[in-house]
Structure formats: structure tokens, C-alpha cells
Symmetry: C3
Subunit: 355 residues, 3 copies
């Protein structure tokens, strides 16, 4: 699927880059600094990898507008990270959708599948579902009754969208993700946990990406919502009635419990847990494994369980590391004070020592 090659002159033009070197030279692929050979173009975005770049056998480089001289022709870009994405897409273009419903797929008569959409082998599309233009449903995808999927979405093999889930445009959902399973709601009736019916839905806005085996539960009433541009990694759990703001990043194995609200641009690192009914303001950033409850003000960085402002949490962690010594120091202080007091005739045993 990758194109055979580009000249550096072509690439300079396509990427709006300044070329230092031979515009006629051809490269046939992109590779990282250590792996690239003379046929390939590599890249130096993060200056920490300068030494690897200087030692690289790559045939050409993509690099920031200013920086060290590299051992080969160099495309200099004002936004090298974005240019790298463009570069990779030139060599690995999105394969075009081959429209049509595979003969082994099972599509309900009342479903509406756009003629430009592709429905893969053994996919199931249930009653009244609506599949938009250029959508790809890969093999084994399940689309429940009354689901709506906007244009240009990709659902990888084994995705499940339960009944009534609504998905915007350009959404990518990876294999094994389950959207619209029942929220976890039970009321103890004195002898058993009785199920609270979960009659709400799930709403995924445009440009969201959802990782493999991630689960997003339907709301009790109303909708569980993931807003525009948010990216969710693998094995993440989003509880019922949660609302995730725009352009958030939720890294793998994060859990967000019922009815919590995340603002815009929130970043939760791996394995972070957010308890139910928490509120995280815009731009909150939480370090890996943090445990968050209550309200976190916009713009705060938090760490640890219970999550605390990052600077404070770090001071506590540093202090924790000194705890065993601290215990010894306090014991020594007590003994010394005891001696001193004894010398000056104070009554002994005045301390609260219980350890």
C-alpha cells in the first residue's frame, strides 16, 4: 500500500519544507534514526536524540527549521511533528474504502447503509441502524438496533455498539471496544441487589478515537457523552452518565466512574481512577495511577492516591522516602530531651511516646 518513492524535491514541496541537499534524491520509506537505511528518510524532532541522528545511516532527514547539521540531505520544517505525520501519510496513505456489503454480513432490512460504506465479512447490522457515507465496518462488528454512525468512521473487527448508540463523524473505534453496555446500577431491596434499568444512551462526538477493549456504558437516563476530539486508549472504563469534555486524552486502563464530569483538554495518564460524581476542570492533568475524587480545579496537575496538587504530592513522596530515618530522629530527640530534662530536674516521662 506504500508508494514506491518520492524525491526530496517532491517532499519539500508537499511538506512546505526547506531542503538542504539534492532535490533529485529518492527515498522509499520513513524509519526511526537507528533503523533507517540509505533508501529511507528519518526524523529528528526531539533534540535529545541528536547523537542518534548524527550516527544514523538514513538517506535524508526531517528536522526543525534550525538545529544541528545532520549527516545527509535535510528537510527543515517549522512544525516538524506535524510534518512527520504528513510524511508518514504520504508513504502510508489511508486505503480507500471499497464500498459494499460483504455477502456474509447480516444486515437487517430496515437498516440504512450508505452505498459508499463498507460492511465486512460476518458483520451484523440490526434493525433501523443508520451507517453513514464512507464508514468502514470491519469483520465481526456488531451494530445494534437504532444505532447511528456518522460519515467516515472506522470500526475495527469485533467492535460492539449496543442499541441506540450514536457516533459522530470520523470516529475510530478499535477492536473489542463495547459501547452501550448497561451502566452498573443496583439498589439493594433488603435481600438482593435489584437492577436499576439503564434506559439512556451513549453519544460519541466527531473525531473521537476509542481504544481496543475499552468499555463505555450507557446512561441510566440521558446520555453518557464523549465530546469532540477526545482520544481514549485501550482497556479504559467510562461509567454511566459520565461526560468527557473536548480534546481530552485518557491513557490505557483509566477508569471514570458514574456521573463524573471531565472538562476540556483533561489528560489522565495510565491506570488513573476517578470516583463517581467527581468534577475535573478544563486542562486538569493527572499522573499515572492517581486516584481522584471530588472537585479538581481547572488547570491543576495532580498526582497520587488520594490525588493532590503535583508539587505538594512530590514533596510528600520525597518526605515519605525519609520516613524510616525520621522515626529514628524523633526517637533520638526524645531520648536526648529526656536526658537533658533529667539533668535539670524536670520530671521524666513527659513525652507522648507510644511507639
Amino acid at each position: 500500500m506504500a508508494r514506491a518513492g518520492f524525491t526530496l524535491g517532491e517532499l519539500a514541496k508537499l511538506l512546505q519544507a526547506q531542503l538542504e541537499g539534492d532535490p533529485g534524491r529518492v527515498v522509499t520509506g520513513v524509519a526511526p534514526l537507528e533503523a533507517a537505511g540509505p533508501e529511507q528518510i528519518s526524523f529528528l524532532i526531539d533534540p535529545r536524540y541528536r547523537d542518534a541522528a548524527l550516527a544514523s545511516r538514513a538517506g535524508a532527514f526531517l528536522a526543525p527549521a534550525s538545529g544541528v547539521d545532520l549527516p545527509g540531505p535535510t528537510l527543515r520544517c517549522s512544525t516538524p511533528q506535524q510534518a512527520l505525520i504528513d510524511l508518514v501519510l504520504l508513504f502510508h496513505p489511508r486505503t480507500p474504502v471499497r464500498p459494499g456489503v460483504d455477502r456474509t454480513a447480516v444486515v437487517a432490512a430496515s437498516a440504512r447503509v450508505d452505498p459508499t460504506a463498507a460492511v465486512g465479512p460476518l458483520a451484523v447490522v440490526e434493525d433501523r441502524a443508520v451507517i453513514g457515507p464512507r464508514v468502514r465496518l470491519h469483520a465481526h462488528v456488531y451494530v445494534g438496533p437504532d444505532v447511528e454512525i456518522g460519515e467516515d468512521c472506522t470500526l475495527y473487527p469485533h467492535v460492539t455498539l449496543r442499541d441506540g448508540v450514536r457516533v459522530g463523524r470520523r470516529v475510530v473505534i478499535h477492536s473489542g471496544a463495547v459501547l452501550g453496555a448497561d451502566g452498573f446500577g443496583f439498589a439493594f431491596d433488603g435481600s438482593a441487589h435489584r437492577k436499576v434499568p439503564q434506559v439512556g444512551g451513549v453519544l460519541i462526538e466527531d473525531d473521537v478515537e476509542i481504544g481496543a477493549n475499552t468499555t463505555i456504558d450507557r446512561a441510566t437516563f440521558g446520555d453518557t457523552i464523549v465530546r469532540r476530539g477526545t482520544k481514549i486508549d485501550n482497556l479504559v472504563q467510562i461509567g454511566h452518565n459520565v461526560e468527557i469534555g473536548e480534546h481530552c486524552l485518557l491513557v490505557a486502563q483509566v477508569g471514570v466512574s458514574g456521573s463524573s464530569r471531565l472538562g476540556r483538554g483533561v489528560v489522565l495518564a495510565g491506570q488513573v481512577g476517578v470516583v463517581d460524581h467527581a468534577t475535573l476542570g478544563d486542562g486538569v492533568v493527572a499522573g499515572a495511577q492517581a486516584g481522584i475524587r471530588g472537585t479538581v480545579e481547572a488547570g491543576t496537575r495532580v498526582l497520587g492516591t488520594p490525588a493532590r496538587a503535583a508539587a505538594r504530592a512530590r514533596r510528600i513522596m520525597v518526605a515519605e522516602a525519609r520516613l524510616p530515618e525520621l522515626l529514628q530522629r524523633v526517637r533520638a530527640l526524645e531520648q536526648r530531651l529526656e536526658k537533658l530534662a533529667a539533668r535539670f530536674g524536670e520530671e521524666p516521662g513527659g513525652s507522648a511516646e507510644r511507639g
Copy 2:
């Protein structure tokens, strides 16, 4: 699927509620306080939402037997949480099972599917499996050889029951759950980890609910057991030979390692981990992200890693927050004592200061 509407008089009778207001008024759905309009009935169960109730535009309310006057006709119930469940079920009744095996399902000749059961598109039922009355196997469900499923169970799309798994009555299993994968057992033979064959099974008793993408491993010998009435959320891991007692609640992303035992009515909040061979007595409650090992006495509430009795854990967390200051205070004490000692001619450096 929701019924068109009910009069408040009908609802009062069906819910055994006292009606304050016009029995002829019709409501067409249930909605939370903020979302409900004049056509809908809302509810006030938790008195904390009193202000939202007073501001609600709902056409009617369900509320406890006594409480504030609400701005509309009110159904007063002695057990409002249970009445709410009944109310929602009136508007959203369970759709009846449409018996029969979809023509695209693959059912082994030796399997026994009750004629009242429904087997969805592209489901697979293997040799000798037994599917009870009114069971629903949704699309893409896999039922392995020798599996037994009791009456009135629902298995949502993409559930996997490996060979020999036994499931009781009225069990609900959400999409992507895997029951009966091999337990994680290996013995190092000096050069490699050799697999310990996992020849046991999985037993799920009546009225259990299992969340999306949850995994429950088969036992090495005997059974991994989830007892009656227990509810398990999404992405939970239950290791081999674990036994979960009756009426437990396991919130999302909990992990219970091999051979651990949970008593009756245990509640594990999100992301709790239980190491192998632990024993949790009846009614143990563990806070989010707790890390549990060993034995926890019945009725104990625990928090933190390592998990400690909640009151104690909270005191430690509060103290932790003061650790950086504590270090300063101890340093100040040491300096002051040093000075005092010097003034009185004691030999210096007697403290255990190492920081």
C-alpha cells in the same frame, strides 16, 4: 418499545403509592429532575437534590412517603428507590424473547437449545451445549462445548463461554466478557515456564450480572465460583479457583487473584486489587484502588495500599499530607535542642540526624 403513557392514577395503583394531585393526568416517560418536561414524571429519592426538584419542570414526581412539597402532582412511596425501578420498567418493559435460531447461527447437532430460547445472527453453539428456556444469545455469542445455561439468561453480543462453563438462571453477561479462559498457572522448569493444565471449570450461580469485557478464568481443578446475586462491573478480572460469595458488588477494573475467597455481601470499589489466596469476610467493603492481601475480618471497611482499616487509613492519609512540614518541625527541634544542650554544656552531635 416504551408504552405511550400512563395516568397518575394508574401509576399510583401499580406502584402502591399515595397520589397527591390529579389522577387523570397523563405522563409519557421518566426523566431526571433537570431533563424532565411537563409530559414526564421525575423523582426525588436523595434529599440532596431537593433544590433541583423544586426547580424541575416535570409534570409529576415520585418521592418518599414524607418530605417537602414538590411543584407538581406527587406519588409518595414507602420504598421510593424500588418504586422508581418499577416505574422505569413500566415505561421500558423487557422486550419479549422471539424464540428461534437465526438462520446464520451455527448450532452443533448435539447441542440442546430450548425451543423458547433465541439464538442471534452468527452465534455459535458447540457440541453438547445446553441452552435453557427463554435464554437470549445475541449476535456473535460463542457457547463452547458442554456449556450449560439456565433459564432466562441474556448473553449480549460477543460474549465467550469456553467449554464446560455452567451458568445459572437469570444471569446477564455483557458484551466481550470471557468466561472459562485458562487460569494463569505456570511452573518454571529451570529453563522455561511450563503451563500447568487448567482442567477445572467456571460456575456462575443464579441472578449474577457480569460486565463488558470482564474475564473469569477456569479453575486449575474444581471450579471458579461466583455465587448467587453477585454483580460484577466491566473489565474485572477473576482468577482461577476464586470464590466470590453471594450478593457481592465488584466495581469496574477490580482484580481478584487466584484462589482468593470473598464472603457474602463484599463490596470492592473500582480498581481494587486482591492478591492470591486472600480471604475477605462477609460484608467487607474496600475503597477504590485498595490493595488487599491476607485475611480481612468480616464487616471491616478498608482503604489504601496496603489496605488498612478505613479509620486508621484516613488518619495516615491526613498525617501523610503533613509530612513535609513534619520534617521541618523535626529539623527545627533538633537545632533548638542542639543549641539548648550547647548552652548547658552537653556534648554536641548527640542526635541521630542523618537527613
Copy 3:
């Protein structure tokens, strides 16, 4: 599938064991000490279960070469753990593969399926995939374009191998596992998170086992690698460009973030998190829920978040438990010192008390 029975004489020969007792006695199965009846053979590997063994009703025992007398004929073995595996496999032999492609499977014309391989119902094998000898693809397995699977692998129902994933020999992949989903890579362009194309692959070496609903992402460039003999439990997340060394054990719900490197024989207990770009040397062992960053030297045991050397982490945990008392002791010291100072005419308020 289990064989009807073996005489103890046969078993002694097959397991190269010393038999104490009647070689003609027949046993029909293996069971743990509490469950075994007179028809079954049980085992005592761990001397802690000595009392259970003495009370067991088992008809025979497998035990170490030396040890207590057991209440029945005993097969004494120099490596009893390995002998137990052999014993179980005698009663539960691996069922032979029944070669052939199920008529409901969907196999691309350009795929190459070895004639000795078995492709189950409703499995999908895409273009140019190569399925080796004696491979079992169970029902609902998805094998993407250009995937390669070596000989004697087993893929349980609902496994997904995305395009280009390469799997070695004798690899076992449990239900719901997803290999080759896109790595989590985005670059913020000032207004939105733009996807970094993930054009690398996944390489699984020989004798690896991968648990149910585990996810292993494809690399950005190059490969995400799991080396020979490594065993991965359920619900584990392996990020893009991670390399896991040979013979590691990753217990359930572990997460390893992008570009981290694990050496040979690393053991990560349940729910451990490894941040991105970390390096764990050979033989590192991490306790449950540890949070690891940076570099961990070979052979180190670590605990806690942030992960610290186990002995140190334990001392800190013990000290933490005494923190509330420590606060009281420091307060008492301050008061006492204040009094003492006052008595000797020092100016008051010299301490750093802020609490």
C-alpha cells in the same frame, strides 16, 4: 476426553517416580487434597498442605522424593511440580486438531492455510494471511491481512489479529485478546490532537501465552515485541514499541506504556503500571500495583508507587503506619522543649511549628 484410568505402576513408569505401595491399584483422575476420593490421585507439592494431605481421602499421592508418610500409596518424584503437570496431561491430553476449514468460515482466496490447520466456524482469514501447520483458529477468530501464524498455535474464540501481526510457534492466545490495534500516539496541532500514523507491527515469538482481553498495540515504526517464552495474563495492556524480554510473567491488569523495555525473566504482579520509556533489567520483580518509571536495575525487587526497592519500600510502609503517632510525639516534643526552654530563659517560639 480424559482416559479411563491408569495403574500406579504405569504412572510410576511414565513419571519416572518411585512408588511406595500397590502398583496394581487404578486411579481414574487427579484432584486436589480436599476434593480427591479413593478413585483419584492427589498431590502434596507445598509442605504447608501437609495436614490436608494427612486428612485426604485420595486413593494415592504424588509427592517429593522425601517427606512425610502419606495415608496411601505414594509416587515420589524428584521434581514433583513438573511430574504433576505430566500427570494431569496423562488424564487430560491435548485433543488432536481436526484439520480443515469450517464451511461457515470466511477465508480469502489469497490466504494460505496449512492443510493440517483447523479453522473454526465463522472465523475470518483475510488476504495473504499465512496459517501454519496444526494451528487452531477457534470460532469467531479474526486474522487480518498479511498476518503470519507459526505452527501449533491456538487462538481461542474472538481473538483479533490486525493486519501484519506475526506470531511464532506454539503460541496460545485467549479469547478477546487484540493484537495490532493502533498505538496511542497523537500530536496536538494547536487546536486538536492529530493522529500519528501507527505503521509498525507486532511480533510475538515462540511459546508465548496471551490472556483473555489483553491488548498489544502495533508500533509506530518497527515492532512491538514479546519475546520467547513470556506469559501474559488477562486484561494486560502493552503499548506501542514496547519490548518484553524472554520468559517474563505479566499478571492480570498490568499496563506497560509505550517504548518501555523489559529484560529477561521480569515478573510484574497484578495491576502494576510501567510508564513510557522505562527500562527494567533482567529478573526485575515488581509487587502488585507498583508504579514504575525510569530505570530499574537487573535483579531488583520493587514495591509501591513510586516503586522503590522492596526492603526500603517495606520500611516506609511500616513507618507510614506509625505516622499519626509520630505527629503526636513531635507535638509532645515541641511542647516539652518549649517548657524546658522557658524554664531556662530561652526566647519562646523558636520552633518551626506550623501545624
